[in-house]
Symmetry: D2
Subunit: 379 residues, 4 copies
């Protein structure tokens, strides 16, 4: 089959690799029709992880079931399914509580697995024609009759819509509360969409890219341009000096200033100031325990110079980590089906798999207008 | 009246000061019979805050009501009452949700007030014969018939018992879960007592002082001696390599190594390692936004070199800040009354007010056996 | 002052009564500009309660502060305020946890007080020119600059908007869930608006009055006409036979069939069938412990022939009771201020106080188009 | 294999039946060493259900794994395991949220399955030498090294310990709260043990059997003898007239007065009176949607004459239904392992399988001292 292979930093290509196939009786085999490039793919693309060369990327996947193992009970051949980026077993101590992002089974020695992802197990990615899905009955989200037609919406259920939603869940966002979101990339925009679904009052979103901020405004958010570095002050002014009730971090460790210099603590320290005492911060932007190419001594070891004193003084809370997609994808699917959520609004490009290498280049360069790319391996 | 006055770093004395009195119709005036010295008093005593000289210390107070303002409805003269260290109004945006530690009324411009405390409003402390209690109906916890006899227990409801309990609440500790507590001082011991009340499975408590660890063991906790700096490894071994389900920080920014050198990030970074993925950390040890006398450049600005990458990777949560005493003091009072909790177990000294200056000296030096001091101004 | 006085069943009139005034130092005196007639006023109007004649009705009140007691700190003369229908103290065991509908102070011997309401304390109602508000700092919700202009929206914060919202809170309604609401009267419509704010998926609302159902559809709900008594089947069909995720009861004990015969168990038993196993029912429609004029032997004693076996078999939950208005009114106010909620959409009539008696007659008869009446005593 | 077979009302016998065996690749086969007779077995034994004759009873099971299907990953031959009475799939809409008592897969058309239980699917019971466990990786709780020795404790994890615990969870019991429990049978006693683990203050338990009440007192509860029908008054007196904070129903629809006459509404109506306004009731006693042999017209249809008016007036909440055993069994197991819980305290008889028919007779007659029977099929 054709697949997008990681060869090394800034080097991916479409190659022919062995077909994915059923390996265990609980497996499901999916023909991929939509698969996104994710912002976190760029950490690997940039060589900022220990991703092995030769592996197939892609953890935001949707398609049709073409074969099932003999222990699969619920999923049927022909079903349209969307796959959570988390590979999880469904029966370990964490999965049984819904914490599928920390599955103890699929990636022994660590917590949590994913398709085509550095350090998250041996699972091949879905930027390919076929994908093997372990524990298929647990991992497949079945889609309704409009699956094919709305697949650019439903494919967002694999990661970024639940991840944006997770930011608001970690922040315990309640109807009527205000929220400030750092980052108007795909995840930040999905956090804004989630905040809107939850009945937030003021939804303030901070970025420096005009096209992203314009998209955010279209979604009903208040765009805050941080080009002058005064986003915190803008938030305080919009909240009578108190700060927002809640905050979401949707940027991660490669946050940088306008000059491009990275400051991994920039968004977190701003959030502590921009959010009110007793406020809660949901952090879904990726931070890493080691970053050998990080900008300074602390960051190389995954350490952040964090304003902990102010944080404690304000009595704030931080929730962090990867989304447990299965906690949310069912309800978000229903909202898409009923027309109450349309996450495809952020899709800027639909491309055949063959164009994936070029797409990675544009996306990595944050080229204007390359907000979100959906690859179509079956096209 | 006699009162313990802060004159400056390492200098307190008992002086005659003007009597506390009813100033507002909602005030209650209390004759103090028991008032503790708290570990956080030491931050002021050590000159590590901007406490004004001339002020009366003491925020852990209990006594009898001797006068009430004309707008006080519930509290009566003669009632035995215990006062939360938080001064709070009961009607602001935070108080009405129970977040009395962040009252917006009593200390305008900041969130939260306290008696005799640096930066927490003009309220005089209770290491004195009399105490003025603002918003008396809201702030007084009335005590049952055994109040006088059990006042060494009930006085702990003013701060450290609810604060230890708060650590377990921030950590969302559930029955059957394991927990690791950093610090076996009074607050850490109260966290251990709270964990036990909540049906925790393994309660592991980390310290280096033998007398404190012995007390912890008496309370059913597993004592972990960190003298060799391997507490994390001991916790991992006790939890099959996984880490504890939950963690409590009860030390704060003056954490130090055996040599006495301060490392404000020591306990937090250890906790991240000692607690399992998806675990939750409750932080009630005090951290400050500025610490001009801190050990290094970061800490002077209240910044911590925090292992944020590992924290995020493990998908952990941190809850922080001062306890909202009123959320817990009523139920903890009932457990004391029924004999199901006996926090006075940690009291090492009962002393008249006149001996307070000497007591501060011993307590500050962590002299052996000086675990918790209750002053008796009426004695 | 002029006020609407209850003289006896089906007999109310506007009379001159002694002016409301400051009686306690914590009181606030309000000149009422908007005050609604509530569906629960009709229970009194119909003589189905033990309301004393001579009392002033009205518990949905808004106006401007004209005088404050000398212990009032936050509220100022000139403030526009909306008053929760619950009179509450702010410092009892229930109020301090936010359960202001069960205040133990204001109506000794029972739990909970209200203005102008049978069995809920001596407090005079606000269908009058002036209203005395006890514990003013706790009970007054201050309104923003658009208070006067949007008072038909803000006045709904006194009761029905929070009460409709409470139904969805008791039902623990989450984004993406479906909900069925029994009753498209003012409270049911507010429940539908709340469900929409919370991101519910399908919002199904059951009634038999065409004008109410049309209004519900305008608000984005699915109208279910129960004229043929098959609402449950319609809900099951809309939910693949499963039943709705959650249910709200917004009718109460005077539920009746098309012939007008009362069946106090009708809505509850239908809800048990219309909601899925593990579902949760929020019940804000009024039920009473005694109803001497009830339609049968059981109902006279406040007993319901309830399908408890099916309820238990489905593992459902019921939450019940009056709304704790203060838990919600602040956030709902902010949504009104930002234009994200417009509860005045249900207002059908604005009338001077003098027309109140006629309005009661029309409202009681469920005359077509009399959905919600706002009285204007200051007009 | 030998198994206890239901032949009809009051008629069970040990027979040789075909061996249980692996039928699906996800199955696990267990040799049963301990299996309890449950109070809910008596509903079947009494002919008060539509149990089919010829079926094997027994849903409280523990033993060792002797064979696994080829899709089983976690469970190994030789493991000691305890099986939740709920049979569940782990991947349906309910299971993925932890609501395994309402599994949508294992008993199509209904919600929830169980071993050897009327109306809960085709699964054979474990009062037998062998048991087939569907979805073995999800349903087996693995036990630690002391499994064999403490099996009388661990076997309680299959049902009654988690069910008693579930009563306290449905009641949202918090540390320091008081609770009243109706029924001091095995489940009620386990609810009392759970309340104690959770740090409840007053634990009041209501029954009329002296031996059960004595056992309850041993566990630290306050025994309330309802022989005179004044249990509610006793509870009110113990709680200053307020009522308990929370209530647990552990009796069910066969509640009866001292004369033996059944009153299915007796415990619920008492609980509404014995619990305070805003209180919460957890109902785990079994109630049925149809009871053709019920004592009166209402009960035959599963209808209860319930004091709904008083319930609503007090703003109470009811949570109901079978326990989701997997939500609790892991943590309760750890507490047994650490010696912090000893549910075997209630075991009155250990008997070989051959004596099961006689044991049913004694247990059904509530013969003195027959509190809880553990059968030992491997003995």
């Amino acid at each position: 089959m054709k697949a997008l292979v990681y060869n090394g930093p800034h080097d991916v290509s479409v190659k022919t690799v062995p077909d994915a196939k059923i390996e265990r009786p609980t497996d499901v085999l999916v023909r991929i029709t939509s698969t996104n490039i994710c912002g976190s793919d760029l950490h690997m693309y940039d060589g900022r992880t220990d991703m092995e060369s030769g592996r197939v990327l892609g953890h935001e996947n949707l398609g049709t079931v073409i074969e099932i193992g003999n222990a699969v009970d619920r999923v049927k051949v022909g079903d349209w399914v969307c796959l959570p980026f988390n590979v999880s077993c469904g029966f370990c101590k964490n999965c049984e509580r819904g914490l599928t992002s920390a599955c103890l089974t699929v990636n022994p020695g660590t917590a949590g697995g994913a398709y085509g992802y550095a350090g998250m197990g041996p699972y091949s990615g879905g930027q390919a024609e076929l994908l093997r899905v372990p524990y298929g009955d647990f991992n497949c989200l079945r889609l309704p009759s409009d699956a094919e037609e709305k697949q650019n919406d439903y494919v967002m259920l694999s990661d970024i819509f639940p991840t944006g939603y997770h930011a608001t869940e970690l922040a315990q966002l309640k109807p009527g509360e205000s929220v400030v979101i750092y980052g108007a990339g795909p995840v930040g925009l999905m956090a804004a969409m989630s905040a809107s679904l939850k009945g937030a009052s003021k939804i303030m979103i901070v970025d420096r890219l005009a096209d992203r901020l314009a998209l955010a405004e279209k979604m009903g958010a208040i765009a805050i341009d941080d080009s002058d570095g005064n986003a915190v002050e803008q938030v305080l002014e919009l909240t009578k000096g108190e700060g927002a009730d809640k905050g979401c971090e949707c940027v991660g460790y490669q946050a940088h200033d306008p000059s491009g210099e990275e400051h991994p603590n920039m968004t977190m320290n701003d959030l502590v100031r921009a959010v009110r005492p007793t406020g809660i911060l949901g952090v879904v932007g990726v931070f890493v325990p080691e970053d050998p190419k990080g900008p300074d001594k602390l960051s190389k070891k995954g350490v952040m110079a964090f304003d902990f004193g102010l944080f404690w003084n304000k009595g704030q809370t931080i929730g962090s980590g990867q989304a447990n997609v299965k906690l949310y994808n069912r309800h978000l699917r229903d909202l898409i089906h009923l027309g109450k959520a349309k996450p495809s609004i952020i899709v800027s490009h639909e491309l055949p798999l063959a164009k994936a290498p070029a797409a990675y280049k544009h996306f990595d360069a944050r080229d204007k207008g390359w907000t979100k790319i959906v690859l179509k391996p079956a096209a």
